[in-house]
Symmetry: C2
Subunit: 348 residues, 2 copies
């Protein structure tokens, strides 16, 4: 039995949890790297994948979990139930796994309307059925009024990896094309506008979707994906920074190639948000060998979730520690950094 | 694709969630039976086991989840971390599964001390290592101050079922002996005393433990367990009532045979609690064919968690709807009922 590592590699810069520890940026990364990973130290967790890849008997499985604490519970384009199912399906899909089973654990605040609970559970079931997965186990806890925020949902998921393809940040190579399936920042902006009761001419809805279908269309067609990652908290920028660091590569993105809806772009400008850091719930990036770029794009565009699929950049060269640069519309280049705080809390 | 059942079999008697919906008694049963089960309707969930039993390729797996919202986070005999690992290991063990992998999802309230978080994570890791399981995937969310209660933890678990034995309430037979591994009501009373800062002469500690070792000692020795269930919220009485109902049997318990520590018994008397309904976190009941009763007892007693193992009753006869009666120390008999409310909230 290994000894437990009781030391943090580096001290954490706070003594108490702040909101940004859950924001997907630098503070969350530090919490994971300096506290959680060293305590639970094991090679599977250390892979830092969206899903753990485990082998049971001869079956290669993906196993993942997420808690959903989004506010508000109902938002344009979805609700916490749809989000809790799709988010976990997406984490499984990003490992190349076919989702099979989900759990559903509820932490409900005293006083929560049963009609809302029913509506949310039905939304979970609809999303699960659409994806062909079953919710097979669960738990219900109730906390006193003032000790929750209506409803928190945890889903864990199990999927099976049938492809022999190893999909991981370590597979990212110089020359790989970086592809995105759709337009960014819709989830974060939809939540923000709903929360602040702001009106725009164009109704912006969250992109909250199950990506497992589009991902399997891609893999089944023979595209040799090196790495896939869905964009959630922290947006496109945070995911690219995390992958660049894990792969020790320099990634270059062409800002003008990143699809974004005009209304979302306007909302970001007005609110002062950089859309690259805004949350998504139905977008993923894909690293493919250069020669498969157009094959991948063609297949993605066959799916309703891939209509706007685009090559947004490439892997330039090996770079220890990783780096992400963005070519701007002005022809200049800027270096991306992890946000130390967060733009918007309770986004998922 | 099956249609979603949008109707409750019976209307729920409340329009909002009350604390007792999480208490393990009648209201929780109604929430599960009339709202959650009908929406997620599928045969695996309908088995109402502590773990879902699923088959992936040829591997028979157990899959379970629990959220832990206990208050206080640290208590005599354990903390929320130990509880979150042991509770999920126990749910796996009750299906006859050997636990393999756990997830850990944290919902942390802003302002929570990092030192406490570290202590709790270390406690999780210690319990996991002791059981030979790995925490392989996780998630971290932060909620604003006043929207949580320090820390909520969700763990999901995967185990493998190697035995050909089918363990389920439906296997319970007339004549089966009902065995318990240890003394009851320690967890609930330890939490209660800690919460109310009450002092007793004898220091009462929670029984919070991982039961997977003792269960596998039993199964590996050839005991043909018909059913096993760990006693948590709602205590021994609620578990027996649930099993009697699922098995359509009349169970008879001998109250004087149920092990209970003298100090716990005194505390229950003073506080007005019926120990049969008080929570446990290291106790389970076991239904075995009568001829294996003494073999099972002998094996249980070899384990530190089974020193007080005792036959507490038997399955009398088939009885549609189920029934549990208790022979009291006065020689009379009483019928057990599910509590409509709960004795103590936030116990696990």
């Amino acid at each position: 039995m290994a000894e437990i590592n009781l030391n943090c590699p580096l001290p954490l810069p706070y003594e108490q949890i702040v909101m940004a520890h859950g924001g997907g940026g630098r503070l969350m990364q530090q919490l994971l790297d300096r506290l959680i990973q060293p305590v639970f130290d094991n090679p599977i967790l250390a892979q830092k994948q969206d899903s753990a890849v485990i082998t049971v008997n001869s079956a290669k499985l993906a196993f993942t979990t997420d808690s959903y604490v989004i506010k508000p519970l109902f938002f344009p384009g979805g609700d916490i139930g749809k989000l809790a199912v799709c988010g976990t399906l997406n984490d499984l899909a990003m490992s190349g796994a076919k989702p099979l089973y989900l759990s559903c654990s509820l932490i409900i605040e005293e006083g929560f309307p049963l009609a809302d609970l029913k509506r949310i559970l039905q939304s979970m079931q609809q999303s699960a059925q659409k994806a062909g997965v079953k919710i097979v186990t669960g738990d219900t806890k109730v906390v006193e009024q003032g000790k929750g925020d209506g409803l928190y949902i945890n889903t864990a998921g199990i999927g099976i990896i049938e492809s022999a393809l190893a999909i991981s940040p370590q597979k990212i190579h110089s020359g790989d094309s970086i592809i995105i399936n759709g337009d960014i920042a819709r989830h974060g902006i939809a939540i923000m506008l709903e929360r602040e009761s702001m009106q725009f001419d164009h109704h912006i809805t969250s992109d909250c979707s199950d990506l497992s279908g589009i991902v399997h269309g891609l893999l089944d067609s023979g595209v040799q994906a090196h790495c896939m990652r869905d964009l959630t908290r922290g947006g496109l920028a945070s995911v690219l920074l995390e992958l660049a660091s894990a792969a020790d590569c320099h990634l270059e993105i062409d800002e003008t190639a990143v699809p974004i809806h005009e209304a979302v772009s306007s909302a970001c400008e007005i609110l002062g948000f950089d859309p690259l850091y805004v949350a998504n719930e139905g977008c993923f990036v894909l690293f493919v060998p250069e020669h498969q770029t157009y094959q991948a794009l063609e297949i993605l565009r066959l799916d309703p979730l891939g209509q706007q699929a685009a090559v947004i950049g490439k892997v330039i060269r090996p770079k220890p520690g990783g780096m992400v640069t963005v070519k701007t519309s002005f022809g200049t280049s800027r270096v991306l950094n992890l946000l130390s705080g967060e733009q918007l809390p309770r986004i998922c």
